[in-house]
């Protein structure tokens, strides 16, 4: 297990290096650090002086090394639009995105597990067919369209729910603006969470169902039936425990991928999170902020993937024992 952990973390670091390299290359080619620092009104002469002072005329790899070093210390440059260090901007926006992903994950896990199991156990029943039918429609529905439909029905036509923004938030620990603690904040969370979960929920249902159906066909499940076990025991202990392994690997990664879909959801609902910030930074050509977003999200993905693999190692006795030796 120790060797496995070390190998997995080494891999994660390598991937982070690659991401930071790509990020830096983009910044190096398109960004203009002088503008980020002093704005656009400087003479060409002042400009070249600043360039020299900032070391922008140094060879590419020396600059990359500098970028890496300050990145490790949490300094990813300055946003010219916000006139602030990008880390500050991203940290201020992160709680909104993370709370959204968290709520959507709760919806996905809470609904997909019972629905997937049910559809696997009773494949011929009407309800299973209904679940599957709805989930294939769900898979075929772009997230932003789901979001638009929700807004049209619940905000425009019925007027039940607010269509944009986070509503009333409460500041926690001095930096975390939470919408989870006020009634207004929760009301604002409902539609964005549903929209965000709408893409993963059908995928999870189909994943759990197909994995579970495969497990139900195995010899050891057949043996469990032959032992005269009660159906609950066979389904929820023998079959589901084995379904969990592949579901954790694929599912963990998929939950990380939800961060990608926050770009779409946040844009529709004008949710002041990292995703909306990214699209704004693209249209404002705020290179430093855009690149930092790529690096930060890359970091989140790598951490999630690594953790999923390590958890998989803990849950799966085969990996665990192999590591112990």
């Amino acid at each position: 297990m120790f060797a496995f952990t070390v190998r997995r973390i080494a891999q994660a670091i390598l991937v982070m290096l690659v991401i930071s390299f790509i990020g830096f290359s983009i910044k190096h080619s398109f960004g203009d650090p002088v503008r980020e620092l002093v704005g656009e009104r400087v003479t060409p002469q002042e400009r070249s002086e600043i360039r020299e002072k900032l070391g922008l005329n140094d060879p590419f790899f020396i600059q990359y090394g500098r970028f890496l070093k300050s990145a490790v210390h949490g300094d990813l440059g300055r946003s010219f639009f916000f006139k602030k260090p990008v880390t500050e901007v991203i940290l201020a926006k992160a709680p909104a995105t993370l709370e959204l992903v968290f709520c959507a994950s709760l919806i996905v896990i809470g609904l997909s597990v019972p629905m997937g199991i049910y559809a696997a156990i009773h494949p011929k029943r009407l309800l299973s067919r209904l679940i599957l039918g709805i989930s294939i429609v769900g898979v075929s529905m772009p997230v932003f369209l789901t979001a638009i439909l929700l807004i049209y029905i619940f905000s425009v036509e019925l007027g039940w729910l607010p269509s944009f923004g986070r509503g009333e938030t409460v500041r926690l620990f001095g930096f975390w603006d939470s919408g989870l603690l006020t009634w207004d904040g929760l009301r604002h969370l409902i539609m964005p969470s549903i929209a965000l979960s709408s893409i993963m929920l059908p995928l999870f249902i189909r994943l759990i169902r197909s994995e579970m159906m495969e497990v139900l066909e195995t010899e050891y499940v057949k043996f469990a039936w032959a032992k005269g076990l009660k159906p609950r025991r066979v389904w929820y202990v023998h079959a589901f425990k084995n379904t969990l392994l592949p579901v954790i690997t694929v599912g963990g990664v998929q939950l990380g991928i939800m961060v990608a879909f926050t770009i779409l959801t946040e844009t529709v609902f004008q949710w002041q999170g990292m995703g909306a910030m990214f699209i704004e930074s693209v249209s404002r050509a705020d290179t430093a902020l855009m690149v930092s977003y790529i690096v930060v999200v890359g970091f989140i993905f790598v951490v999630v993937n690594t953790m999923v693999d390590l958890i998989y190692g803990l849950v799966n006795p085969t990996v665990r024992i192999a590591g112990r030796k």
Binding site: V15, V18, I26, S29, F30, P123, I136, V137, V139, S140, M141, P142, V143, F144, L145, I148, L149, I151, Y152, S155, V156, S163, M213, E217, V253, G256, I257, V259, A260, F261, I263, L264, T267, V268, F278, I279, V282, S283, A285, T287, M290, I294, V297, G298, F301, N305
Partner: protein, 304 residues
Amino acid sequence: MAFLRKIQRSDFVYYFFRDPIAYISFGILLVLFVGAFAAPLIAPHNPYDPTTIDIMDSELPPVWASEGSARFLLGTDDMGRDMLSTMLYGMRISILIGLGAVLLQATIGIVVGLLSGYIKKLDAILMRIADVQLSFSTYMIAIFIGATFQMMFGVANYEKIAAPLLILIIGLAEWPQYARTVRASVLAERRKEYIEAARIIGLSRLRIMWRHILPNTLSPVLVISTVQVANAIMSEAALSFLGLGMPQNKPSLGSLITSGFEYIFSGTWWITIFPGILLVVLILVINLLGDWIRDYLNPKLYKG
């Protein structure tokens, strides 16, 4: 005739016509394709011709609403374009980009898959790239590439060459699916004895890969292709929604939905909802057909 009879008797046709979901989906897809590609012939208006568009006609509701006009069956959009015609032209763009992107990803993916399945040294590097890209989600990669391109070319130039760029973006983002599938079947195939035999005869690696291994990997490639087309169309729509896709004067279904979104709050729902429905139906029937083909080629699941 003999060929026709063979088709008629084959399992494929038998199961196809026994499954209403399969043939109804196929029928709808056929209608949509014909509608899209015959758009210049059957569409009542030409949305690309500014001389036929009158801004006075803008935001007219569909024909069954009280203020609807008989000239515009599904109403008009904010610029006064006929919704039905614009949707047909838009669907053509969506489908073309989808097919083009899949062609590109399949080409990249098959080459990478063959290489990494057959040459051990390349395997580790190529598959790691594929893994990383998949773990980031192809959407994210597409958005990143799109954002970078937009910065590279500038918004105005980007819009001019948006269609080929979108094919390139989606192709570059989604090839790993193919690479993985092809690699897996290459690994399964190369263990078989006929490959051993071909090597002993002294055939070159290239020839073995091209003539012997590649044909055997095609059926899984076919299975994922249908779903990949649906994914590519979805990716295009998402990029267009974020302003990284087709411009408003040459809209795809995605950019049509986007342009209608602003008007939804004033109750002008049809500019968004009609293209939305068309997009969902298009993707849905492709997905349903893809599922059906997968089940058909995987008989173990079919019997269950």
